[in-house]
């Protein structure tokens, strides 16, 4: 039972990653592809945050912390950085989708495609 509780975040990570990859491969709508990338990104972020959990460690804030053992907040910092980068990539992807829509009037990956071969 405890192993299930401990591993629950990792199961969620695997599920989210599979959902993200499935969407990216099967869905032809560009917006949905962007959504798939974002879901994969949340899976990775969840993975990093779950790695940061330490038993009986206190949050590393210098006010009103209980106990003296504080968690080294490296995974949290990584997650935050990755979220910031995610915002930038998502913004860029959505901008490009808008531009593709303006040029072709389509958001379908196959119909909006202009170059191949």
């Amino acid at each position: 039972m405890t192993s299930l509780v401990v591993n629950a975040p990792f199961v969620a990570v695997a599920a989210l990653a599979c959902v993200g990859l499935y969407i990216m491969v099967t869905q032809r709508d560009l917006i949905k592809i962007v959504m798939g990338v974002t879901i994969l990104e949340s899976a990775v972020n969840l993975f990093l945050v779950s790695l940061g959990y330490r038993n009986e460690g206190a949050a590393p804030g210098f006010t009103h912390a209980s106990g003296t053992h504080m968690v080294l907040p490296v995974p949290q910092a990584l997650t935050l950085t990755s979220i910031v980068i995610g915002v930038a990539t998502t913004a860029l992807m959505l901008t490009l989708v808008i531009l593709i829509y303006r040029h072709t009037g389509e958001t379908d990956a196959e119909k909006s495609r202009r170059v191949k071969g």
């Binding site: 592809i33 990338v37 990775v44 995974p75 990539t89 593709i100 202009r114 170059v115």
Partner: protein
């Protein structure tokens, strides 16, 4: 001067990064001021990169610690945090740094007049400087997470540059495909970094390498890293984004995006040689890389032969030449566990691959620039509509001939020297490898003959009667790369001894890379 030498690694990253954000502010003073500013910054970066190279060659691996009281204190005195965020520049990082800085400089100079008339030039130079900073960051960093951050900066700025001319639908599409593929591969890299942190509580490359036990999770992380970084460097069978993205890239950016692909290849080398090294099953990984290399070579060149879009044709050669590099590295990797074979041909194979990286950054960048120059002058990239341009665009034609001879491996040129090293060494592993490589080389020559015939020879076409030669700054940009190509052609042994062999030995000497940070050995 002494302080400059100490701080050179971080300055090479921080100066273009800060300048990128200063560019819009400087741009308010006028376009001329901004252009001078950008070129001055890139010249300074070039100077810093060569300072780093000199330091690495004379004093060994350079370690620079961020936020410590002295640059060498990688491991904190209190031991609360395992290893600080560091930059660790070895021969490979210094070697690839030269490529990044030089190509960025020539690309920026080329863009000065090629971008004239485009809107939003401030943003263009911001992105260009960001791309430069991220390339140098990937090569100089000694920290896995910084590698990911710089990889993402590289993806974002590269995609935004590729899609910069938003009035063309193919530019937008190419940028979109690039950002999607590179974001997903960067996320896979981040996933494997998470796996390392979960196992070892470390993010430093040397420290993780020291603690590496090659468990099941490490194997999965290796697969993720190899898959993601090979995709980013454009190897078959996930090369699809390369032609779509490079073809519409504006002005002088296609060589810089190419240099960024080579940077990702450098990151893959760092992972495979410095992080895993002999702890993994090197023969399996080596043959994986060899097969990817052969496929890249052959499929790349056969697809290139068919293209009628001049830049698209050249970008398929990007894939094909990537195959040569991978073949060299794969041969070196496959025999990494056997010191005798490494001494006999493994080291030469890796050196050949690295020399080919250097040569390609120059002559392939030059070819991409000539393709863009034709587009600039004629307004089309379609080879079917070109002809007789050798009559009006003499400089472009000369630069094209230099690049085409070099890439096809015609004897006096540098392409021949590096390909010769790859043939000789891969022949010793398996003769079939060298035969495929030779056939691909012939087809490369054939496809560039096709470009030369279609674009430069023939009678002067009436529709292009008043085409003018390209402006001076574009000639200077191409000239820098052409001069580099000719220099490497005439003095291959000098170049090999000065920078290529140190980079090779840095890759092969994993204990040194670890020992500099972790002490001992």
């Amino acid at each position: 001067m002494d302080a400059l030498t100490t701080h050179a690694p971080i300055l090479a990253i921080a100066v273009p990064l800060a300048a990128a954000f200063l560019t819009p502010l400087v741009g308010r003073l006028g376009a001329k001021v901004r252009n001078v500013f950008v070129v001055a910054i890139l010249l300074f970066v070039e100077f810093l990169v060569f300072t780093v190279v000199r330091q690495v060659l004379t004093a060994g691996i350079q370690v620079y610690t961020l936020g410590a009281t002295a640059a060498g204190l990688a491991i904190p005195e209190s031991h609360i945090v395992p290893v600080r965020i560091i930059l660790e520049v070895d021969g490979l990082g210094a070697f690839l740094g030269i490529i990044a800085a030089t190509v960025a400089l020539s690309g920026a100079v080329y863009s000065l007049s090629a971008m004239r008339g485009e809107s939003g030039q401030d943003r263009f130079y911001t992105l260009l400087l960001l791309l430069t900073a991220s390339m140098l960051g990937i090569q100089y960093t000694g920290d896995l997470f910084n590698l990911f951050v710089f990889l993402e900066i590289l993806s974002i700025s590269g995609a935004a540059l590729a899609a910069f001319r938003t009035r063309f639908v193919d530019a937008v599409e190419g940028g979109f495909k690039y950002v999607i593929v590179s974001t997903v591969s960067a996320l896979l890299v981040l996933l494997s970094i998470g796996i390392f942190y979960g196992q070892y509580n470390l993010l430093n490359i040397a420290a993780v390498s020291d603690a590496m036990r090659y468990t099941l999770l490490d194997k999965i992380a290796l697969a993720l890293l190899i898959g993601a970084l090979l995709t980013k460097s454009g190897a078959v069978p996930s090369h699809w984004w390369v032609p779509d993205t490079y073809t519409p890239a504006p002005a002088g950016t296609s060589p810089i995006i190419y240099a960024s692909s080579l940077t990702c290849l450098g990151a893959a080398l760092r992972i495979v040689f410095s992080l895993y090294g002999v702890k993994m099953t090197v023969s399996a990984v080596g043959w994986l890389v060899i097969v990817a290399g052969l496929l890249s070579m052959f499929i790349g060149v056969t697809m290139a032969l068919r293209q009628t879009d001049i830049k698209r044709l050249m970008t398929y050669h990007v894939i094909s030449q990537e195959g040569y590099m991978l073949l060299g590295f794969g041969v070196g990797l496959a025999v990494l566990g056997d010191p005798q074979a490494v001494a006999a041909y493994g080291r030469e194979a890796i050196a050949g691959g690295l020399f080919h990286v250097l040569n390609n950054a120059f002559f392939k960048g030059l070819l991409l620039l000539t393709g863009e120059a034709l587009f600039f002058a004629l307004g089309t990239r379609d080879l079917d509509r070109m002809g007789g341009m050798g009559r009006t665009m003499k400089w472009t034609c000369a630069f094209f001939i230099i690049g085409a001879l070099a890439i096809s491996g015609i004897p006096p040129m540098n392409g021949f020297a590096s390909k010769l090293m790859i043939y000789e060494t891969s022949y010793q592993l398996n003769p079939m490898l060298a035969i495929v490589a030779l056939i691909v080389s012939i087809m490369t020559l054939a496809s560039f003959t096709k470009v030369f015939q279609a674009a430069f020879t023939g009678p002067g076409l009436p529709e292009y009667r008043d085409v003018k030669p390209v402006p001076l700054s574009m000639k200077v940009g191409m000239g820098v790369l052409a001069a580099g190509t000719l220099f490497f052609s005439l003095f291959p042994q000098l170049v090999l001894d000065t920078i290529v062999y140190p980079a090779t030995d840095a890759l092969l000497n994993q204990t040194m890379y670890i020992g500099v940070i972790m002490g001992g050995s």
